[in-house]
């Protein structure tokens, strides 16, 4: 069931079109990655969907609420992690959270703050000034703030930007946890590996929507699937046996490695290995050569721009 429905969402700043006619849906419990180069309209889209700025035309429905519409109601249903964590550095982590919790209806601000400080591993530092926190801790605190009112939908704007690998890993693990809890997460990122690791589907935008699908489907759409077989004793007979297989679309040989294009590696791999072994081949390794998401991203973004990647 779709919890975010976007229809022709457009935003202009003076004459410049920042976001042009976005249309897509996000299902409940899904993690959607939002990829695009700088200035592609990612943050503007998030701000529109979070009811912070209004679209010029088009609209959306988030958690059953129309956009543009009643921002106050919308803000009760969504959580947002902004590009900059933005806290009061001279105040404690606990006070910061309780302060933001105080703007929502229907729950105990203190209890929720405690719950999420514990959940983010910051309980021991609750009385410390936020100004003394590392970037990673501030980001975890910002995630806690976004979750205080138990929102159905979370918008995360570049949650791991500027974090060291360990802190980025912590934040990614938290997002996975949120996904496992069934929350819908809309995450913008520059990190393609991160998008692939975290997201059920990936949307690539450059002002307009270029593609939206799972990582694997995007690969299938733009690149043929390849399986690589490494053999200890490569012979012409082995090569010929592999080439004869009906599902092999194309094959290249480089040293003791066969690179074979096929549409369903999961189905055909055992038969391929069997054919190689039947010709006396000693198989060292068989694996799918996954085209990096980066290649797809660059292909899409540059094609749109009319440039070669």
């Amino acid at each position: 069931m779709a919890i975010i429905e976007v229809n022709g969402l457009t935003r202009k700043f003076s004459d410049r079109i920042a976001v042009d006619g976005l249309t897509f849906q996000v299902n409940q419990g899904e993690v959607l990655g939002f990829l695009g180069p700088n200035g592609a309209g990612k943050t503007t889209t998030i701000r529109m969907l979070a009811g912070i700025i209004a679209p010029t035309s088009g609209g959306a429905t988030v958690a059953g609420l129309r956009i543009p519409g009643d921002a106050e109601k919308l803000h009760e249903s969504i959580g947002m992690l902004t590009e900059t964590p933005g806290f009061y550095d001279r105040l404690s982590a606990g006070f910061n959270l309780t302060y933001f919790a105080g703007f929502y209806n229907g729950f105990d601000a203190q209890a929720q703050s405690e719950k999420y400080l514990k959940s983010m591993g910051l309980w021991e530092r609750r009385d410390s000034r936020v100004g003394t926190f590392s970037k990673g801790m501030k980001q975890r605190l910002a995630l806690a703030r976004a979750l205080l009112h138990e929102p159905k939908v979370l918008f995360l704007d570049e949650p791991t930007a500027g974090l060291d690998p360990e802190a980025a890993r912590e934040v990614r693990d938290l997002i996975k946890r949120l996904s496992a809890e069934g929350r819908t997460v809309f995450v913008s990122t520059h990190n393609l590996a991160e998008a692939e690791e975290l997201c059920h589907r990936i949307a690539i935008i450059r002002t307009s929507l270029l593609a939206i699908d799972t990582g694997q489907n995007l690969r299938d759409r733009f690149f043929r699937r390849q399986v690589i077989v490494r053999v200890q004793n490569m012979t012409p007979a082995i090569q010929e046996a592999a080439r004869r297989l009906t599902f092999v679309k194309q094959m290249q040989v480089a040293g003791n490695e066969l690179t074979i294009e096929m549409s369903e590696p999961e189905q055909n791999r055992p038969e391929l290995v069997q054919a190689v072994v039947n010709e006396g081949g000693r198989v060292l390794d068989v694996f799918e050569n996954k085209q990096p998401l980066e290649d797809i991203y660059l292909k899409l973004v540059h094609e749109e721009n009319g440039n070669e990647p």
Binding site: F13, T44, R47, A50, G51, I52, I53, A54, A71, E72, K73, H75, E76, I78, M80, T82, E83, T84, P85, G86, F87, Y88, D89, R90, L91, F95, Y99, F100, G102, F103, Y104, N105, A142, R145
Partner: protein, 270 residues
Amino acid sequence: MSRKRILNILFKEWRVVLTDFSSSLIIFGLPFLLIGQLMLYVWLGVYFAGDKAGGIAVFQHAFSKLQGAVPAVAALSTAEQFRVLLLNQFSFFLLLIPVMIAMNTVTFSIVDEKLSGSLEALLSTPVRTWELLLGKALAGAVPALLMTWIVGGVFLGVVAAVGWGNLIGMVVTPVWFMSLFLLTPAITVLSFLLGVLGSARAKDSKSAQNLSLVIIFPLFALIAVQVTGIVWFTWLSALVLAAVLIGIDYLVLRLAVSLFQRESIIVRWR
């Protein structure tokens, strides 16, 4: 809910001020400097010009207004009359306190939040614009007003302590009370709303202060017209002025809400 949110903003702003020495100094120290300065001004004025003041045209005019408002003054010597005249200005000098506190605290309140990144997080909560602006204005106005009243009380204590206690009855008049408990709160709220307005329209701390200074500064005109006796406030004129200011407070809040463009602040400020 609005009350809860406004109180939430108030308590946060107070905490921020209490953790900053310079802001605390402006709020809790500056008002007392004003008493010392004014007492010095009264003493110097009477010492050097007390007897001669009756011969200066502008003071003659002010004396006649003073005698009209407080007939008992006519029985005093010229120097004493001059002292009463100067002491009577104090309630209007008190108006400086909220204006100065506003310029040094609230003018930064919105722009600082924007620069630290907390404003976008704040605007993604259900807080309404008017709740945010009123909360910010009251967070400064309430302590400024309390300090003004405390300083007013301390001033009377000092007047008695330096041996001018016989003049207190001529200073603490209905206009004094009107000024302290009606005009001062109305001007305080106005100063802080104008400060918030300036802060909301500025792009950085410096421009926030400059803008607020230009907006708030005309309030000093009230003091100037009273000191020179050009306009002598009676309890009625003080009441009318307070009523007008309360009306202006409301209009300025409406104006601030309409000028507070969330989008422009979020998108264009860097």
